[in-house]
Amino acid sequence: MKPDRSSLPLLFPAAAVFLGFFFLPLAGLLVESFRLYTPGSIGSSADAPLTLGNYTELKTPAFAEFFFETMRISFLTSIAGLVFALPLAHWMTRRLPSRWRVIAVGFFVTLMFLSVLVRTYALELTFGAAGPLRPILLSLGISPNGRGYIEVLVGAGLLHYIVPMATLTLLGTIQNVDPRLFDAAQSLGAPGWKAHLTITLPLSMRGLLAAFLFAFTFSISAFVIPMILGKGRVLFISNLIYNRFSETANYPSGAAISIVLFVVALAIVYVISRQVNKRWQP
């Protein structure tokens, strides 16, 4: 279907906003990423020569590891978020009376608007190295200052956002799955779990993809959560970018990392979307 040309002017305000506040700053960032940085100065000077050095210096195993760590924790947390969110969305859609469903949706929307700082510090105070759960953790042989535990805590911080976001995204998806298909499968003798695996899950796959992409892109760009819960030991790429811009004032390097993160995130979103669409055609 071709778009109606007469409606195109309606797009202009949004296009202007995107052009002014997204594409232009991004272009500025791209140019900055090619400028030479002089140590001790604040950003690059206006007449700084262009260089590829800000990108080539990222070709180190350590930087690849930062990327891998960010992607690994984000990926696992996003999958875990979906594991929690799908049954929750199913339960809300199929089992909850409509009056309670409205309340539940309101609850999840409210959760999303709660201050990230408040939630993150709540987690830190409860599960951190000095929290009330410390003796229990120690008795279980878990060190609250251990690397693995800190990673789990960062994941928990991300789940605070991912679960409500994914649940709300999946409500419409579950609603669009015809419940009669599930009933038919069961009436033909399929156990509940098998009916879900063969009917509900495949039919929800595109919604799950959307929820996953929301969760994943949110996670890889997370800043405050790894900064507070990561104890300076679990660092995401966003934290490196912040250090470059705000602490060492090396804008060109910060810009180069930002551009790399942006391109990698786009590539991942593209590849996953393409694979899911290929496998599960509508």
């Binding site: 940085y37 140590p39 001790g40 100065s41 604040i42 950003g43 210096e57 180190t60 350590a62 930087f63 590891e65 930062f66 951190g128 190295a129 000095a130 060190s143 609250p144 200052n145 251990g146 690397r147 900064m227 104890k231 300076g232 030991r233 660092l235 490196l240 250090n243 811009f245 705000s246 602490e247 060492t248 004032a249 090396n250 804008y251 390097s253």
Partner: protein
């Protein structure tokens, strides 16, 4: 049905405007004679001290803005809005002053414009390439090793003790953007290097990271304070304000006079911006702040030793008072130009060599 006419609407609107305007007049107070100045300060005890200093004069009224993150975090914000940045003075230290001087944002100061500078040792004043004084020092603080005596499993006496297995996860260590990376210089000094040759320090840093003794890498002042207060960690390498609040409630051993544990001194002070209309009022307030009386007030509350030679150093800051012999023995004065120029390279080195081991 009641119809609302245009006349009624206009009358209603006029009445509303009238009530708002004249009602509001009742609450208008006589204009204050004080000039408003916007200042960027550190939070906690530092801004509390500065508020107390503000209360002791009535010519300038301060609009307080707090630093967020390290002292360098304000620089991009100023650069982005320059020459319209709205800060009359920014509190900082050598590190941030250096960047501001390079950007040519600051107004030079003299004894004529800030008379109390006459009582500050000239040697410590930050200068530009022409030798002009570019910032007003107000106090000195230390960057050194310390630990909490009540919860530390061992007594820290030397850098080697940091490797003790009983300290697993118990050390709070500054991140790559904290303390100008003097922690690496401290390790380098211990291993036979210095700020010009930090390789031995980095080698030692790797070993320390591999022990698993570093439980938290502090990236903000609050990280250090809360980690030590809560008992999450028991010791590490700190700058003065990070310990001030903790030392009020817990037995903190400040290792400023132990051989083999170097102490670094930094100055905190004011950078005054040349683009602002209230320059004279700002200079007046800064001059008031470094007077002998106000320097003592600042030292008492903020926990940094006064630089004004006529000011009184409180007992709680005796650990920062050094005799000339002690100064030679315990205090290391690095080549700050080298330290500042290496910040970017050292940060990257930390990310490449140390962070993966933590």
């Amino acid at each position: 049905m009641t119809q609302i006419t245009r006349r009624q609407t206009l009358k209603g609107a006029a009445a509303t405007v009238g009530v708002t305007l004249f009602g509001g007049l009742g609450s208008i107070r006589p204009a204050s004679a004080a000039t408003e100045v916007t200042a960027v300060e550190w939070g906690g005890d530092v801004v509390n001290a500065m508020k107390k200093i503000e209360e002791n004069q009535d010519k300038v009224q301060i609009n307080w803005v707090l630093h967020q993150g390290g002292s360098g975090a304000i620089l991009p914000k100023i650069k982005a809005t320059w020459p319209n940045a709205e800060y009359d003075y920014v509190a900082g230290w050598e590190g941030s002053f250096n960047g501001m001087i390079k950007e040519d944002w600051l107004v030079p100061v003299t004894v004529d414009t800030v008379p109390n500078l006459a009582d500050i040792p000239q040697k410590i004043i930050v200068k530009n390439a022409n030798g002009d004084w570019m910032a007003v020092p107000r106090a000195i603080g230390g960057i050194y090793f310390a630990y909490r005596k009540d919860i530390s499993p061992i007594e820290l006496k030397s850098i080697d003790d940091l490797f003790d297995p009983s300290l697993k996860g118990k050390i709070c260590w500054p991140g790559p953007t904290q303390s100008m990376m003097l922690q690496i210089v401290a390790l380098a000094l211990h291993a036979g290097g210095n700020e010009h040759n930090t390789d031995p320090g980095w080698a030692l840093m790797k070993k320390l990271a591999e022990t698993g003794n570093i439980g938290r890498v502090g990236v903000t002042d609050t990280d250090f304070t809360t980690s030590l207060t809560s008992g999450e960690t028991v010791g590490g390498f700190y700058s003065e304000p990070q310990l001030t609040a903790v030392a009020k409630s817990f037995p903190v051993e400040r290792l400023t006079k132990n051989e083999g544990l170097p102490v670094f001194l930094y100055q905190s002070g004011f950078a005054i911006f040349k683009n602002r209309p209230n320059l004279e009022a700002t200079l007046q307030f800064v001059n008031h702040s470094i007077s002998p009386e106000m320097s003592s007030v600042y030292a008492e509350i903020a926990g940094e030793a006064p630089l004004n030679v006529k000011a009184k150093t409180p007992d709680s800051l005796k650990h920062l008072a050094f005799t000339p012999e002690e100064m030679d023995k315990y205090v290391y004065v690095p080549d700050f130009n080298e330290v500042l120029n290496q910040q970017d390279a050292w940060t990257k080195r930390w990310e490449n060599e140390i962070a993966p081991l933590l």
